[in-house]
């Protein structure tokens, strides 16, 4: 990065990631503009979730730089990483709620750990965020008592409770029925509009991507192809265009996503 490109809130430069003999990326470059909704797409095993984990400093690349809000997280110690992570929120694929805490306690956890607010302020903020995701009456329930969609929304409330600049969402729509997909999608768009979060969302869900994405980063064979959903769908790359059309066939041609996978 990137002093010359101030609009990129997050950028990956020349990144190499390998897990043992399996190389996920060799020379990955991609940028995520500030305040916009970017959707990361690609076949299974293409490394979409790995990109989110790189941004959060949960995975360190073998080479390259990962810039988050102006800081190269690959060079930071755990303390420095924590400073950057306070500007991030992350919704995990399985929501990652703590089984032993109620929904409200889960949402309150990031605020309690920071110790910047009083109990009353934390309670008010938790109530507001649970209201944002439509779970105002679920605060006293345990995560195990929630449906998949409600768990996802509770995870989202926890991810946004500390007002992060950048919100990372790992497959927020997977396994959800169409109504819940619409609901989560509307929440993400609303958060982006109301609070100006930079959203980076991994997804296989084509209809929601068409509706919400201002930028799509399609990862295939360790390379990122960037464009709007319309540009990629109608672009010259047949593999990517087929991926978008596969939703109608409900099956992605193996050849079109091979090596790109998630």
């Amino acid at each position: 990065m990137t002093a010359a490109e101030p609009e990129a809130h997050v950028a990956l430069e020349d990144v190499r990631v390998a897990f043992g003999p399996r190389v996920v990326f060799d020379r990955l470059d991609c940028r995520f503009p500030r305040g916009r909704i970017s959707v990361l797409m690609g076949g299974s095993g293409s490394g979409k979730s790995t990109i989110l984990r790189l941004i959060g400093g949960l995975v360190r690349p073998a080479r390259g730089r990962v810039w988050v809000a102006g800081e190269d997280v690959t060079q930071l110690t755990e303390r420095g990483l924590n400073r950057v992570r306070r500007r991030l929120g992350m919704l995990f694929q399985g929501s990652a709620l703590f089984d032993s805490l109620t929904v409200a306690e889960n949402v309150a956890l990031p605020l309690r750990e920071r110790r910047e607010l009083s109990r009353a302020e934390i309670a008010a903020e938790v109530k507001r965020r649970l209201g944002d995701v439509g779970l105002e009456d679920a605060g006293e329930l345990m995560p195990g008592q929630l449906s998949g969609g409600m768990q996802r929304r509770a995870g989202l409330a926890r991810a946004i409770v500390s007002s992060p600049e950048i919100l990372l969402c790992d497959e927020p729509f997977s396994g959800l029925d169409p109504l819940n997909v619409r609901r989560i999608e509307a929440l993400l768009v609303d958060l982006n509009r109301r609070y100006g979060h930079t959203l980076i969302v991994t997804s296989h869900h084509i209809p929601s991507t068409r509706r919400m994405a201002q930028q799509v980063v399609f990862v295939r064979d360790g390379v990122a192809v960037v464009g709007t959903p319309a540009e990629l769908e109608k672009g010259a790359d047949r593999g990517i265009a087929e991926f978008f059309r596969a939703e109608e066939d409900e099956e992605v041609p193996a050849a079109s996503v091979r090596g790109g996978g998630a």
Partner: protein, 259 residues
């Protein structure tokens, strides 16, 4: 063939040393959080409840049974030499010096140590620990350290309860069933068991076993593979490694303490 065998031994040795190094570093991390982070009394109390209170029944029940067996076996042996009145001493010394801390350590490993490893391993597999990291919270500070402290604190207490229950079990069999004089049972026990040597040594053993089980269980869970098989392996290896470590350390403490 021989070269391969030597290579295999070498690889295993290196893996063992590597594992020891990682565990030492993990222990250092726990100590660092103890010194540098704010205490979490509520979480420690919750863990003490999970490890200690929920183990009470199994520890006291097992203690009673072990004491009863010791009473029976001890009586059958002592009565041949006309020394049945020393039953309290035999039961008390075997329990305080060896059986109390060792059996408590093994029982707590099976009940609470394995649960600890499984719980942390599941948190790894379901990305809960990564969730904490993304909130800028150290998982060792919030999750691991309270569990390790609870195990260290609870083990000596459970060991004492095991010994008391076992002495009572021996009393029931020896005095109530077999007719040994109750006063002699308790007097011989009191005379034989020395506080500075036997009781202090027993508490030291239980404390060391608490450190071992707490460290091994949390380390195995924390470093488990994020899969159901990984959680299963962590749980099994916690029981195996902690049990063997308890027996090995028991020998060294006994030898060094001069019991």
């Amino acid at each position: 063939m021989r070269v391969r065998a030597v290579e295999a031994v070498g690889a295993r040795s290196l893996a063992f040393v590597n594992e020891l190094g990682r565990m030492t570093s993990f222990a250092g991390h726990i100590l660092r959080t103890l010194v540098t982070r704010r205490p979490r009394p509520a979480r420690v109390v919750q863990e003490i409840y999970d490890v200690g209170v929920l183990s009470l029944l199994i520890v006291c029940g097992s203690g009673l049974a072990v004491g009863a067996v010791l009473g029976l076996q001890g009586y059958n042996t002592l009565v041949r030499f006309g020394a049945a009145e020393s039953l309290g001493a035999v039961v008390g010394l075997s329990l305080v010096r060896e059986l109390g801390p060792v059996l408590t350590g093994l029982l707590v490993t099976g009940r609470a140590g394995s649960a600890m490893a499984a719980e942390i391993g599941t948190m790894v597999a379901t990305e809960q620990l990564d969730g904490l990291r993304m909130m800028a919270v150290d998982p060792v500070d919030l999750v691991v350290t309270p569990k390790a402290i609870a195990m260290i604190f609870v083990m000596p207490l459970l060991s004492c309860l095991f010994i008391l229950a076992a002495i009572f079990g021996g009393y029931l069999v020896g005095v109530v069933l077999l007719g040994v004089d109750g006063g002699n049972y308790l007097t011989s026990l009191e005379t034989a068991v020395d506080f500075d040597n036997d009781v202090a040594g027993s508490l030291l053993k239980a404390l060391v076993f608490g450190v071992l089980v707490g460290l091994i269980a949390t380390f195995r869970g924390y470093t488990s593979a994020p899969t159901s098989a990984g959680v299963s392996r962590a749980t099994t290896s916690t029981v195996v490694v902690a049990s063997v470590s308890i027996l090995v350390f028991d020998y060294f403490i006994t030898a060094l303490w001069g019991m």
